[in-house]
């Protein structure tokens, strides 16, 4: 009976792990096709850039949560963010949305509402520039106060112009 009972346990655990594995597979990004055209390449490059942007903001936030944050780490991450956000409007050439990469999270509104998108990108640039200035000056309190406005511009733009990826 004990071994039969362990089979039931295994079955129930398999449900949990199956769900987790399926999630892992879903989370895995697709590979760029070898013969990708310029728009497709731009879609993949954009994804890489956003991952770098996310990683640098995460690095900054993680550092700030430490008991004694390293100012150099904060400054380096802010500098990376500033450079990336400055270039952000160039990551969206026309035609580089889902038509270029089905998994793309870019909404059509980026191009149909170009003025709105540019305004959102400019807002992010303005807030990140403030963050970078404070970080470069080593003013951690000012950096801490600025992470929320920065996060707000990320979120604001994502809510309007980003969709959940398909497939």
């Amino acid at each position: 009976m004990a071994s039969l009972m362990s089979k039931s346990w295994a079955l129930a655990l398999a449900v949990g792990l199956g769900v987790a594995a399926a999630g892992g597979a879903l989370a895995h990004d697709d590979k760029m096709p070898a013969n990708a055209n310029a728009a497709t390449k731009a879609a993949y490059a954009r994804h890489e850039n956003f991952e770098k942007l996310g990683a640098s903001f995460k690095g900054l936030n993680d550092e700030l949560r430490k008991p004694a944050p390293d100012k150099a780490v904060v400054a380096a991450n802010a500098k990376t963010m500033n450079a990336l956000v400055g270039a952000l409007p160039t990551w969206f050439p026309r035609g580089s949305g889902v038509e270029a990469r089905p998994m793309s999270e870019a909404k059509a509104g980026i191009w149909t509402d170009a003025a709105g998108f540019t305004a959102a990108a400019t807002a992010a640039r303005t807030e990140v520039a403030k963050l970078n200035a404070s970080a470069a000056a080593g003013d951690l309190e000012a950096v801490k106060a600025q992470v929320r406005p920065v996060g707000g511009t990320c979120k604001g733009c994502h809510e309007k112009y980003r969709q959940e990826k398909k497939g």
């Binding site: 449900v15 949990g16 769900v19 892992g24 996310g54 990683a55 903001f57 995460k58 936030n61 990320c154």
Partner: protein
Amino acid sequence: MAEPSAAVRVKLWDGPVRIVHWLLVVLIAFSWWSSGDHLNWHRWSGYAIIGLVLFRIYWGFAGGGAARFASFVKGPRAIAAYAATVGKRDVSTTPGHNPLGALSVLALLAVLLVQVGTGLFVVDIDAFEGGPLSDRVSYDVGRAMAEVHELSFRGLQALVALHLVAIAFYAVWKRTNLVGAMITGKRSLPSDPGLTGAPVWRLIAGVVLAAAIAWVLSKGLRL
């Protein structure tokens, strides 16, 4: 609800099982609601769920009566035998979880563990919000955790839906009131199954242990 005529009222579900059950109902719903724009509350709800799930697993081994896994987790033959009779239109008399329902209990606990386990490491798309252990993983891993977190919630929703369908089926088809038993702890059964409770010190030990683990996790393993 009709009950067998020669029924005895039996104490089936102890206080801890009922409290854990109803708190999970409230907190899972609350976590769902707060996942959008109230991530601070979402985190606290998650820590509470970690404590509840850990306690329930502990209680499955250290608790008494119908709470013990050993009392209701059965092998495939017993499950098949019960499944063959489940369609019969008679009042259910299993003193606790039936062999089929046991699978649902284990699956719910497993999915909840995946849910809170991934939640600890989640990083949100803006890299601004995250679980208490998100600083231990990269942005990529944290994002992958977020996707598993979302997908396992779909699994949890499906299991909860199945749970509700089963309750309705027992109520309507088998004329067995399962909800009342989970509220009062009592069921009418043909005979007393002779369930014995666990000593209070085990309950206290489990509560302290589960709360301590949830607390340490909520602090990102930093004390």
